[in-house]
Symmetry: C2
Subunit: 184 residues, 2 copies
């Protein structure tokens, strides 16, 4: 294991922080590590029917480009991750869902962040309102799921949670772990 | 798009940084964002034969636990990513590879990091030396690839790059995009 010797500096953003620590490695050697302390996060693969999903286009500051992704976001303090998934779906797409099925939970950036993303499939979608999150989302699109797999293979989609959500959905469907009435 | 108004603070680790910026959103509203400025990174799915891969156990400081992952690491300044892949494979497992095939490149943490991970399949493995990276790697293991998929589904493996590497390998193999002589 690795133990913290001291924290050299810390940055505070809304709801999460990044800190630089001096760390003792398993061999005894010292090094420095950046650690992002991140709240839990949720992502949603929203199924309009068994073959079509909603995706969002948004500008990503860290990579300075617009991307095509599944809806996602950080949990507010004290918020259950499933509640967060439903809220982010509504804010980013204007749809709510009747059913959520957890597909996977994982560490996106294990080298420097404790973030855990839980990915859900959602179905029973109903349009409720104009989107709220105009600050971040520029467009909502409907895509055939087969087209999404093609866009992963050709490199158009390069967002980790989107690739994992769609891949794990396919794996679970092939293994018979998506309930037969999920899309009804 | 989103534009930086000013940088409020910055942390420097070896070869990468985290900074806190004030940012103007597309709607004109101001917010703060943490951005990790990360070098390119490589990950390798190392095939001993068409059905067995090497994986490594290592302690992950950010999540305070040991994990089972494919070998990976950051490129040194000026280092080609493919060279980095070969170096990390050798340092973490003690094997070198004759053949590398790029499976995918993606953004693991698009919300706060510009990191890009390129994942390769590697074959033609040959043991060259005792492992060097005793600081980080506690054990090297051989796993049947079907077992790795099972460990993803049951949640034992929760590392994003490992899930994406194995998922994209399976997708490309199903689509006939892994050359027939890759394992020979």
């Amino acid at each position: 294991m690795e133990t913290r010797i001291k924290t050299l500096g810390i940055l505070h953003a809304a709801h999460f922080t990044a800190q630089l620590d001096t760390v003792r490695l398993r061999t005894g050697r010292l090094t420095e590590r950046i650690k992002v302390d991140h709240p839990e996060a949720a992502a949603v693969v929203p199924f309009l029917d068994s073959e079509h999903i909603l995706m969002v286009r948004q500008w990503r500051y860290a990579i300075e480009r617009e991307t095509l992704e599944i809806p996602a976001g950080k949990a507010d303090p004290g918020e259950e991750v499933l509640i967060c998934a439903n809220r982010e779906l509504q804010e980013e797409t204007g749809y709510r869902a009747e059913r959520f099925l957890e597909l996977f939970r994982y560490f996106p950036a294990i080298g420097y962040s404790n973030e855990v993303i839980r990915i859900y499939a959602a179905s029973g979608l109903a349009r409720i309102e104009a989107r709220q999150d105009e600050d971040e989302i520029s467009k909502v699109e409907v895509l055939p799921i087969q087209r999404v797999y093609d866009l992963m293979v050709d490199g158009t989609i390069r967002d980790g949670k989107t690739v994992i959500g769609l891949s794990m959905f396919r794996t679970l469907r092939e293994r018979g772990q998506i309930p037969g009435d999920f899309f009804s």
